[in-house]
Amino acid sequence: MAEIELTLDALSYTLIALLIAVLVIPAVLSRDPDVHPFVLHRQSAISPVRNPKESAVYRSTDTPFGYPLVSGLGLPAAQKYASRTGDIRDIWKLAIEHGKGKMQSVKGKEVVDFSIADLTKHIYAVGSHFRDIGAKSVAVYLPNDVENLVVSFACAFYNIKLIIVPFEPHQTEGVLGLLKETRPDVIIAAAGQVPLEEITPIRPKEIIFVVEPGSQHLDWDSPEGSDQKSVVYHEIIKNGAAKDPEVDIELNAPAVVIYGPKQKDGSRELIEFSHRNIVAGVASQMKSLPTREKYTPNDVFVPVDTLADLHTRIHTYAALASGSTVALSSIAGKHADIETAVRNVNPTIIVVSPESLLELHIRTRGTMMELWHGMIHYFQARTLTNNGRIPKGNFITRVNDYIRPRVGKKLRLVFVAESAGSPDSQPLNSLDLSDLRVFFQAKVVYGLKHYKVAGPVTQCNVYDYRVQKQKSLPKGPGRECAHFGAPSPGLEIKLKDRGEYTADDAEGPRGEVWVTGPVVAGGRELSLGIVGKWEDEGVLSYA
């Protein structure tokens, strides 16, 4: 045994070379992950003391205990060292101040530019028109287009209640039923989209039709055989004399009214948001992103979901307030085709519905026919989960490019959220989200939204690319759902014991989700009507 022969032949040298190669090459080629992995281990600030029968209170790490929740835009005030909350008008003023002075409208293959200065004039013209006819509430029933935002801000500047009617490009629900509940003074709709007899029973003071440029020569003003007054939008905005009325705004008064999801009996709840709720939602969305990922004036933002969805609207307002160029596509909606909606725009940030994203996922998966598609996809997905980086691709992965969704080369952020408390929500699972990050070569940020909360309730860390063990939904068999990330900086969350779900559960605190904070409508603690669970790293998921 003493004499072991240490002969090295050609094979030995080859093997040693290979061994050194597998040890050294990954070390040389490895790059840092996008974020230190420990950041993903502690994603919430957790209160050190909890009440019996409740979980601890969870907050964003941006607003830990002892600090106030984000409640406003923090604009410079008249006094030194003070800041003011701001109101919805300030979102537009920030867009004028920081933006590149334009907004875009995607019409099929064409992209039409609008200047912010012109749109500001339109806002004053439309607002002063509302004031002149004595409107107290205005219902907007429009697709995603500049008119929608102009009317929304006109209401804010002239202190008029804005009613956002649920809108889908292919809506089946009758608008009459929706308007009956709110009875607005003015209704704004796209010409030809809503039959007049659908609206006339509401007896509004006025109906304003938004007419496409191609149809403006037609006579829309005088409907035959009707005493209902109706005017056209393009005539109103010709009044260029109007100025900012600088009205005093009560921050806590209802400013925006939205409809809750359709219940089983067909009814919808109405939810009122104050200026304070909306700006808090916008400010906390702006705050929640890490410095490198914030909305900037260089970004192009496209809401691919409808602006009637408050979560999408808050993201849009956050983009406006940050000076990003907003591009609006009128096909936007719950089932909108993402590629069509962003055609010729090259967006950097989009907000989409989970339905749209899932449809795109299924379609892209379906085009992965060849063996190498799957292999390259596997390695790119590994870069995400093991190395914590977005795979930006190299010359080899380019053969996979033709299966990728055509969304431009600049996309960096995709926001998507599960609707809590909606009977027909479409959950996304962790694997699908990881796949979509590979397809888009961008960060896909999942969150949780609720119709009574301005902006996301919780949102995943932008850099959280991990794939978790999948969770089944409490609703029973169906798709599984990824976690929703940590609380937004504008609210705090706790779980209260309900039935079998308790704060003392062995696998982590579980219970009914309750939220409170400046972004919550009504100003009281609110139950989201779902049962959640805190994961060990401080993220919320379905129990």
Partner: protein
Amino acid sequence: MDNAGPGPDSAAPPTAPEETTALSLSSFATPVNLTILVLFLYVLIMRARSPPPPAVPRQKPRVFQTFTPRTLKPFNGADQPTVLLAVQGDVFDVTSGASFYGPGGPYANFAGRDASRGLAKNSFDEEMLTPIDQPIDKLEDLNGEEKNSLADWKGHFQGKYLLVGKLVEEGSEEAKAAGI
């Protein structure tokens, strides 16, 4: 190692015929080569495997407790390592300031007791404490200065120490609800 090849004076002559027949394979299958091969394969497999997700220790927040003067008494640093004291019905965990509030500290009298009156009157004497079998001090006789002093002290505790419970009357509804 001058005797590398198999020779007639080799230690194991019976194996020699076998070696000549399988020369091409076995000459490479030396212990050294096998060791390096195993090492290489091991490193390769370890590289290919996903690293296991690191285990995150769960944070265990403490539960807000309800105390009566009697159940608060043991938390004086001597009977129990934790030092608690009550101010106007709020119970604070002052263990981190045990050099002041723990045994032998200048405020040791307050440990495990309702310290409100003593703090209001800025006196750390024994007679400032309500005996534990008597109702909780209502503090109705304090003058303005004493009330301010108490508010300052309470602010100090809120800023520095954790609020971990409340002090309620023995036999009250709240005490019964908490099971004491």
